[in-house]
């Protein structure tokens, strides 16, 4: 019994003593964002596979097990994952990742959302009254979210703060990295993707 308790204690302590941050991303695009910004300083686990519709997922015990050990959850937000992330967080028994805590990150909360505060009625279908959460289609918004994520990671792990910021600046999402500087108007962005909606050359 004593040995069992000791083993259990070691398990908990070793979990806490891991050097890298334990990051859980809800979707593959958020996983990409987290991996880009955190680099080798975080272990990133993705809850929803790429071939699943994140709107229709259901909570599963392995999500709760992953979130139980997470230092940070990186979600799309704006209620995209409303059908499964809130119960997964409640079932994870992890105070670090509760909404409002430092370990809870919504990418959609870091940028201006399109179509926010419109008319919302369920007869209109699956509308997102808080605004369009599909910000991952927009390199500009993703770059902004990446910078916000870098600041969040920096506040959690000050030793590697510069690395997070540098990774975010070098993010492949940044429009400057996709199109040469000066050939793309960032001012005119209105659509979900500045490249599609504002082809200024």
């Amino acid at each position: 019994m004593k040995r069992l308790l000791l083993a259990l204690l070691l398990l908990i302590v070793s979990g806490a003593a891991q050097a890298a941050l334990n990051v859980v991303a809800t979707t593959p695009n958020m996983g990409m964002l987290a991996r880009t910004v955190a680099g080798e300083h975080a272990d990133v686990r993705i809850l929803a596979p790429a071939d699943r519709d994140a709107h229709y997922l259901q909570v599963r015990p392995n999500m709760m097990a992953a979130l139980r050990r997470a230092d940070l959850v990186v979600s799309v937000g704006a209620e995209l994952e409303i059908g499964w992330l809130p119960p997964a967080i409640q079932g994870a028994h992890n105070p670090r990742i509760q909404p409002g805590q430092r370990g809870y990150f919504e990418a959609a909360a870091q940028v201006d959302l399109m179509d926010a505060h419109g008319v919302a009625d369920r007869s209109l279908g699956d509308v997102h009254p808080a605004g369009n959460p599909h910000i991952y289609f927009d390199p500009v918004r993703m770059a902004e979210a990446g910078e916000a994520l870098a600041e969040r990671l920096a506040s959690m792990d000050e030793a590697n703060a510069d690395a997070y910021r540098a990774n975010a600046r070098a993010s492949p999402n940044r429009c400057e990295n996709i199109c040469p500087r000066g050939k793309l108007s960032l001012k005119a962005r209105q659509g979900p993707c500045c490249i599609i909606r504002t082809p200024i050359i």
Binding site: L8, P49, P61, N62, A65, R68, P87, A92
Partner: protein
């Protein structure tokens, strides 16, 4: 004549002028100094009775507030069933589960949750959910039963900031023992509750006031261990009567051959037992099987330090039971997520088994004459042993469409302290159309073969149910 008219006009003009003056004066306080002179009051308010305080002021109330932002999420669940059976709405209770050997025939009293032939409005649930503060979340579920009567189904708070994987829940809640017990009727894959849960716990399942503490360790596979300390009022495992004098209504042979209605108060001889009287524990394990597969295995059990029951008969005869009991069981859930649209190709398999044992002292007799206060003595001891299980499978055979099969059996072990009975079976099949997450329509057919108390034979019946299940408003996502 003309003078008089002029006088009246002058008075009106004066009054008008005085009115507009006062309006202008009233506005001085609201407008920045100096603007009053530039914009004459009479131009803004042509009607002197149109005082500024009576006009709608738009959004500029001079106040900044949260408004309704702190209101909880509110949702309403509508649940209706069109019901038909071939027994004129009178389905018997399976033998051995009627509450004792001496309890014959429920007659025509409808047990709670039993449906009438034709249209039925089942519980209408009103759910409020919100964070209390940064330490607690709270959920209140009110159930309006049929057309009348409001019941607080759940009203609890859950901690959100306890360390080391602990969580505490307190208030009134559905116990986490087993799998289906904590689900509300609108979460079910079938119209009705599994027989095991209904007969061994009661019509509401194990729904109690108390405290739950659970722990999720930081292991690679999901584990949840929990204990609950509960008041102990659930009819199936912790029924409670208490001391005190109860009214009995009986009939005796009166003068002229017509029965006299007698009414007296008596003590059943049951003692008060302070709460908490029911203690439960559960453990759930779920290995990480990847994205497609999810398996959760649970074990649970509970001990009731008091179980009391009373049955009164019109002859004045009273039966009373007093003792304790325990139960134990296991729950298995497997889900397959095919990753296609709207649940197409998904599987949900679910099975639970539960055993219940009650050790009771038994009293039977007429407890006293009118006005008597003597307590009856409990002579006999009886041990009731019952169990039950169900297994169900639901398959999404097309986008939005699923079909389910369920097999219920109760009384594999079935002894009411005097007699043993055979088991009772029920077979269910349904088809569900889930238009969206918010509306669901279901057709279900049950065929039952219940063992009967008295003649030790069995009765067959068929039930047909057509259900709608609608969710209105902001309803939180369901847990696994």
């Amino acid at each position: 004549m003309k003078k008089k008219q002029f006088g009246v006009l002058a008075t009106v003009a004066l009054v008008t002028a005085w009115g507009s003056q006062s309006v202008a004066l009233a506005q001085v306080g609201e407008q920045p100094r100096g603007t009053n002179a530039q914009a004459p009051a009479s131009a803004q308010h042509r009607d002197p009775l149109d005082s500024p305080g009576l006009r709608p002021r738009g959004l500029n109330t001079g106040q900044v507030g949260a408004g309704t932002l702190f209101n909880p999420e509110i949702s309403v669940i509508l649940d209706g069933v069109f019901y038909w059976d071939d027994e004129d709405g009178d389905i018997p209770t399976p033998a051995g589960f009627g509450g004792g050997h001496h309890h014959h025939g429920h007659g025509h009293d409808h047990a709670h949750g039993e449906l009438d032939q034709g249209f039925n409005l089942r519980e209408t649930e009103i759910v409020f959910a919100a964070a209390i503060d940064n330490y607690l979340d709270a959920v209140v579920t009110l159930a309006i039963e049929g057309d009348s009567g409001i019941e607080v189904e759940e009203a609890y708070a859950v901690t959100r900031a306890l360390p080391a994987g602990f969580q505490m829940k307190f208030g009134k809640f559905l116990s986490d023992v087993g799998y289906i017990n904590k689900q509300h009727p609108h979460d079910w894959d079938f119209v009705d509750r599994p027989l095991m849960n209904e007969l061994l716990f009661g019509d509401h399942g194990l729904q109690e006031k108390g405290v739950q503490v659970s722990w999720v360790p930081a292991t690679p596979f999901y584990t949840r261990l929990g204990v609950e300390v509960l008041q102990g009022e659930t009819s199936g495992v912790a029924n409670y009567v208490g001391s005190g004098r109860h009214e009995i209504v009986g009939y005796a042979e009166g003068t002229g051959g017509t029965p006299d209605r007698l009414r007296w108060r008596t003590n059943y001889g049951l003692d008060d037992v302070d709460g908490p009287r029911l203690f439960t524990g559960f453990a759930k394990f779920a290995p990480d099987l990847g994205y497609e597969h999810a398996l959760q295995v649970g074990v649970f059990g509970g001990y009731a330090r008091s179980f009391q029951d009373v049955e009164t008969h019109s002859s004045g005869r009273v039966e009373a039971w007093d003792g304790d009991g325990w139960f134990a069981g296991t729950d298995w859930v497997y889900r397959y997520d095919a990753g296609r649209s709207y649940g197409h190709g998904d599987w949900r398999l679910q099975a639970e088994y539960m055993y219940r044992r009650l050790s009771l002292d038994y009293f039977e007799g007429v407890p006293g004459e009118v006005g008597s206060t003597t307590s009856p003595e409990f002579q006999n001891r009886e041990t009731r042993k019952n169990d039950g299980l169900y297994i169900q499978a639901v398959y999404g055979f097309a986008p939005r469409w699923s079909a389910g099969l369920r097999y219920d059996v109760v009384g594999l072990t079935n002894n009411d302290g005097y007699d043993s009975f055979d088991e009772s079976h029920r077979y269910s099949a349904n088809v569900t159309f889930t238009a969206t997450e918010f509306s669901r329509f279901r057709l279900q057919v049950n065929h039952g073969r219940y063992e009967e108390d008295d003649d030790h034979g069995h009765g067959d019946f068929t039930q047909v149910m057509l259900q709608y299940n609608l969710s209105l408003g902001a309803h939180g996502a369901h847990s696994f």
